[in-house]
Point group: C3
Chain length 262, copies 3
């Protein structure tokens, strides 16, 4: 990887507010195929920001439900043989109906080839946004990563060039999130300098952020800015949340701030 960090523009809360308001007005129906660990938190995060979550997972139902949804999220965190068909059918339906959709390629890595192959298949259905941590984006781009499990051991700076190349190759938007979030379509890159390290100690904040990206792109057609607005909204909630009482209080303070501020 090059040591040169490509130019990135800051994305500010002044810019985000219009997307937040539009989301509340349009109340997008977000169809979520996500992992077993974060279903409840994801639904509450979507409700907090003003979206309407729906977890419809049966292979007999996903194709038709994508058609009525405003956007789709596919998160492969706890993928197994029972859900894989539903994911592929939903992605195909989104592709055919031009429904905006987000791919969260949780824990793709050389060790976990089953999900890594699935992620590559899903890429062929042209996700509107890919949201991942640095390790996941490096793996999808065919680079080496230090990832193990769901935590990234790489910095987003080290993955930015891979993110830009991935965005160009698949004509998509890549949001690579961490200490600094980058959101890029390969030409324009936004940088989000906000957030708090404590967010990494709450399970599902990345997964819930991917659902937020789905909600934001489901209510505004400027997917690049909408995705950046989602990232900034989560980062600001983490900054503002109560960090003095421990992890439990922090989690619910994040939900409080998502519901009050965004």
């Amino acid at each position: 990887m090059s040591a040169i960090i490509p130019f990135a523009e800051p994305f500010t809360s002044q810019q985000a507010v219009i997307y937040q308001q539009q989301l509340r007005e349009r109340r997008p129906l977000v169809h979520c195929l996500t992992n077993d660990v974060v279903q409840n938190f994801t639904a509450n995060v979507l409700l907090a920001i003003g979206a309407s979550p729906a977890m419809v997972i049966a292979r007999e139902e996903v194709r038709d439900f994508v058609v009525v949804a405003d956007s789709l999220l596919i998160n492969i965190g706890t993928v197994n043989h029972s859900i894989i068909d539903s994911m592929l059918l939903a992605a195909e339906s989104a592709y055919q109906t031009k429904t905006p959709w987000v791919l969260d390629p949780v824990a793709v890595s050389p060790i976990l080839t089953y999900r890594t192959e699935l992620a590559k298949q899903l890429l062929s259905f042209n996700p509107t946004v890919i949201r991942g941590n640095a390790s996941e984006i490096l793996v999808l781009a065919g680079e080496k990563s230090s990832g193990k499990g769901t935590d990234s051991l790489d910095s987003t700076d080290s993955a930015l060039q891979a993110a830009q190349e991935l965005a160009i190759k698949y004509q998509t938007i890549v949001a690579v999130t961490g200490a600094i979030d980058y959101v890029t379509d390969g030409k324009t890159t936004y940088a989000i300098h906000a957030g708090d390290e404590m967010l990494t100690r709450v399970t599902g904040t990345g997964c819930a952020l991917s659902a937020m990206v789905a909600a934001f792109i489901g209510s505004n057609e400027d997917s690049l800015s909408a995705a950046a607005a989602a990232c900034l909204s989560m980062s600001l909630a983490g900054e503002r949340a109560n960090k003095t009482q421990g992890l439990g209080t922090f989690i619910f303070s994040v939900l409080d701030h998502l519901s009050l501020d965004s």
Copy 2:
């Protein structure tokens, strides 16, 4: 639908208290086959009101477990091919052993035919109570609804006549919940004028309410009043919960009040 609202009697907290106390004394074992989004919240809600939740889902185990349980909940929110057999076997077992049981027909609609067909199959096993929002009750009764996803776009007033007809047709009790809750066996109808709109912004409050109905009918044979007591208990917790700090604080304040007041 007729514009005439049939007569409904108010159900009061004075009436509810006897059912709440009986539930705490009997500590009913509530067998839950519910959706992936709300499992944890449902279990904590049941523990808060003094019931004992048990999520036994294997098709090899559900028939026998229904026999030892005091009541059963079947919620089809995230139904798929893997759980559908368990739901049918559990409902059949409840029917055969006269175990009281609740059907929560989440998101039945003309779009989602797979679950709608399942809900109709489950009706043949004679649920003690059907708990749904207005859109779901209208669909089950064969009427038109405006529902999409899991949120109702119809008022409970507009669904009350359908609820009463459904109750008579299937010799069951229907609880249609929203701004006003109605609980009816087709002859007597209770109205619950309590609650708070913020409850609709927490995922799983309707699903957890269905589990509460199961707990209440599992500890008192007057299923109509017991179901009404469950609805009132949730509504009062929503009224009393802290609404000044945002969504996260509200969720846990609802659990606080369910554990303290009911």
Copy 3:
């Protein structure tokens, strides 16, 4: 069962602190195959104490992931035909690679024979620790229990001899938890006199404790003391948590104290 309670040494917070610190330093990757009700709470509990949770469940992935994990948890609470293969493959992989692992035999009982047979199959892969309530340990040891569902109706005193015999028979460690926790390898037995009854009213505290045991034995080779340190950590968090506001506040206060104190 004999009425004589075998000698047990107290395990103190002074002893626990070294295992807590080591866990934070090593940040063990804990591979969890756990039940649908407690996935989120378990992940947050592991993050609170400084571990790294990963819920990888596909039968295509579990064998390889056990190899990179520091420890494994298998909890059979919501076992069904879809996950059973993954559990057996993961346990076999742990056995072959000498990865420490914890079995949580949720709700084994004469009524639920499917999971009870599975628990016995899993025992053949030599779990490092078995963590259960008194009823579950009695059933695994072939004794009579009063258990029904997931709540124990037996005291840990009444199960201690069975726990010791089970530990010797399978050359494992048994943690039988309740009002008093006992952790035994059949020769040495630690007793933990801490905790709060309110912990039994939060869903998943036992399941999350089993995950904590996995994290502790994944960061220290003295499995007996590490398991006792895990039990004491959960008990102290329950003692210290806010019990004045109701169940919701208590749950998140437990998470707060796990993150601050341990």
